[in-house]
């Protein structure tokens, strides 16, 4: 170590969390990432040619949490880079477009492939473009909400409907990730009424982590 650097008064702990964003093309993976990191939304579509990376640091008192977000291009030709986005990730966000139910259906395949590389990651199911979703037929909204809830239950993943353009539930996604990873209890109330931007997370996505978090029983009894 360099001796010229004076000793730090309060050395911080940095915890790096890699997050993978996965889903069909044009569901809004890059938008969500940029919105969260930069708080910017751009209507224009830019195809991701590979894997996009952005990082963001959150300071929580004396600890820093570094989100390392990797966003995989949704086109099929980039699927060979899936290991890059999923391997070693602490959380994998599966995104689908609320206005295109077929993108929800393909979550099955994304989930199979991503969990094939990483079973430990906390999965999250995120429906995007909620602002456009509210324009849809109420019956269709109801069906899509229920179907995505079933998917979330099957995946044991928190379910979040978000709108990047209207800043709905974007920050929450990443707070939920921290809550699930570090076994914290979030205060944000769940949103369960169909038609609202669903936010259901309390009893989903905890099993994998709780298994690993409790792997040190002596820690738990302290």
């Amino acid at each position: 170590m360099d001796t010229n650097i004076p000793p730090l008064p309060h050395p911080k702990s940095t915890f790096t969390i890699k997050i993978g964003l996965i889903g069909d093309a044009q569901v809004g993976k890059t938008s969500l990432m940029v919105k969260y990191v930069e708080n910017v939304f751009d209507e224009e579509y830019t195809q991701t040619l590979g894997v996009n990376c952005l990082s963001k640091k959150i300071t929580l008192g004396s600890a820093d949490i570094m989100f390392y977000i990797m966003d995989l291009g949704g086109q099929r030709e980039f699927i060979n880079m899936l290991p890059l986005a999923s391997e070693g990730a602490k959380a994998i966000i599966f995104l689908f477009d609320l206005t295109r139910p077929e993108t929800l259906k393909s979550i099955k395949e994304w989930h199979r492939q991503a969990t094939g590389f990483n079973e430990q990651a906390v999965p999250l199911l995120v429906g995007t473009k909620y602002d456009l979703f509210v324009n849809m037929d109420p019956e269709l909204q109801s069906q899509i909400s229920r179907q995505s809830m079933r998917y979330a239950q099957a995946m044991d993943a928190p379910l979040i409907f978000c709108s990047t353009s209207h800043s709905i539930n974007v920050q929450k996604i990443f707070k939920i990730i921290i809550a699930k990873l570090y076994n914290l209890t979030m205060r944000a109330s769940e949103i369960k009424q169909i038609g609202d931007p669903l936010l259901i997370y309390k009893y989903l996505g905890g099993t994998r982590r709780s298994a690993s978090a409790s792997s040190d029983p002596s820690n738990a009894s302290n």
Binding site: K57, I58, K192
Partner: protein
Amino acid sequence: MSIRPVNLEDFTETSFEDVDTTTSPVNWAKSVRSRQSSPLKETGGPPSSTSSESTTFSNNKKRYSTHTESDDDGEGFLDEFEEFRGKSPSEEVLKKHFTQTPLATGRGRLLEENLNEVDDEMDALTENFVKNTSVSSRNLSGITGNKLSSGRSVKQPQSMLNLRDAKKPSFRGKQAHELTNSRSASNLRAGHRLGPKTVRYKKSMPVLSKYDIIREEDEQDNYKDEFEEDLKIDRNLLQPQFLSEDNLKSPLNLSPNQYTITADDSLLTPQLHKRHREWIKPSQLNMFREPLRREKRGSKYTDGSKLSASHRLKTIKQEIDHNTPMKKGRMVYNPETLTWEGNEQALSKFRDVDSFDKKAIVIQGKPDLQVLRDRKSSTALGSRPRGKVVGRMMFDQENLRWVRIDGSEKDPFAEIPDYIPAASAPTAFTRKGLASKRSQSQFGPIRNELGGRFSSSATTRFHSLGATSNSHDPTFNIDSKTLERFYHEENRWSRKVGGWFIPRDTEMEKFEDGQGLPDSKNNSYMYEIRNMVISSARN
């Protein structure tokens, strides 16, 4: 595979520095892991990197860049979590939380997997222990509570709520309210799972008893649950004859023929609530808007120095053709389908999602079939135990069809002839059948192939024969006698006229049809003719 950070000169440090820029897919795992892993993994101790902008403190092995955007509303963020609510985020509290998991996950995956089994056992044991002691703990806490605040009732579980309410008002509130809405069993279970762990970090609170905290979040639900658990324990103590076997069977192992099974959409997703209010209009979207983050403090982010997202966004491009097959762990990349194959069992989780009837909840007996089945089951069912019986039908496993148990099967189509007479199609079919039969006869390949020349005669011959011998069922029923007669007939025919056709001729036709004939063979006999002509001319 190479990684190309955009605007590299803007960053003195990039997080990709650690990554080998010429990694092959084989190296992916290594590079990814080393890049993202927590410092704790590397050193086993707390890292020394700091958070100040563009300052990097390195530990022994790795350097972690800190050029990333920092969110200064840490306290606001902390406030979102119940554990830090109302507390100043002291280092101890934070460390306690954040060090557990990375340490635990920092172990090798194999080790973790092994541990998971043990952990599950531990969890089960802990849960069991909590269950078994819940009554005593409740009493204990009641007594303690009584000491603390006289006048509270000890025996009523409700008093516990009151006690806690007075002690720790911050832990009550929205959560309890929400839990009353959710009735699904998974909710209760998850609450249990959370339970033992909450003990750890709330120890410092002036609690009444250790197990009191377990009911922290979903008090009312857990009370119900606990009473049910108590009942279960009592049931185990009962004599076995009182326990019905029905519990062991799967409740959904029912035949749809006997029950009306309705997939109730709202029951299947109990977490979701039906809409009572007006549907959200686009103009109302602001209701859900997340509060804007606070402006960044300090002069770190001046407009000039702050980089836009498009500049900071780094793209890892693929340099491997996506047609290259790969293997990674248990997954194999199939370049034709552009998918990773493997982990198929993950799909089984979704099986029930797509076919709702498997998760049906509303089941009603069909009265008419119920009666019928009761009557039949005593008689016919006993005599023929084989095959699956549903109602009055039994599945014939050999012929793969359903048959009536009582044998009183009436064929409503008995009077309708199977054969529908048609003018041309059956004729062609019959001829084909005939030809294939003949292929087994002594004629060999010559007669097998009905060349163009034969076709007319063969067809006419069939018609004459078919009219006489096969009047009953002209399509298929050719008995052996008729067939024999065909052979004799054809034998005679070929003896009579066969000399007129060179056998080689048909063979050649066959070759010309598509199989192709070597030129030498073809030409050799042309040459013979030529030689014959030349020699005769010479003479």
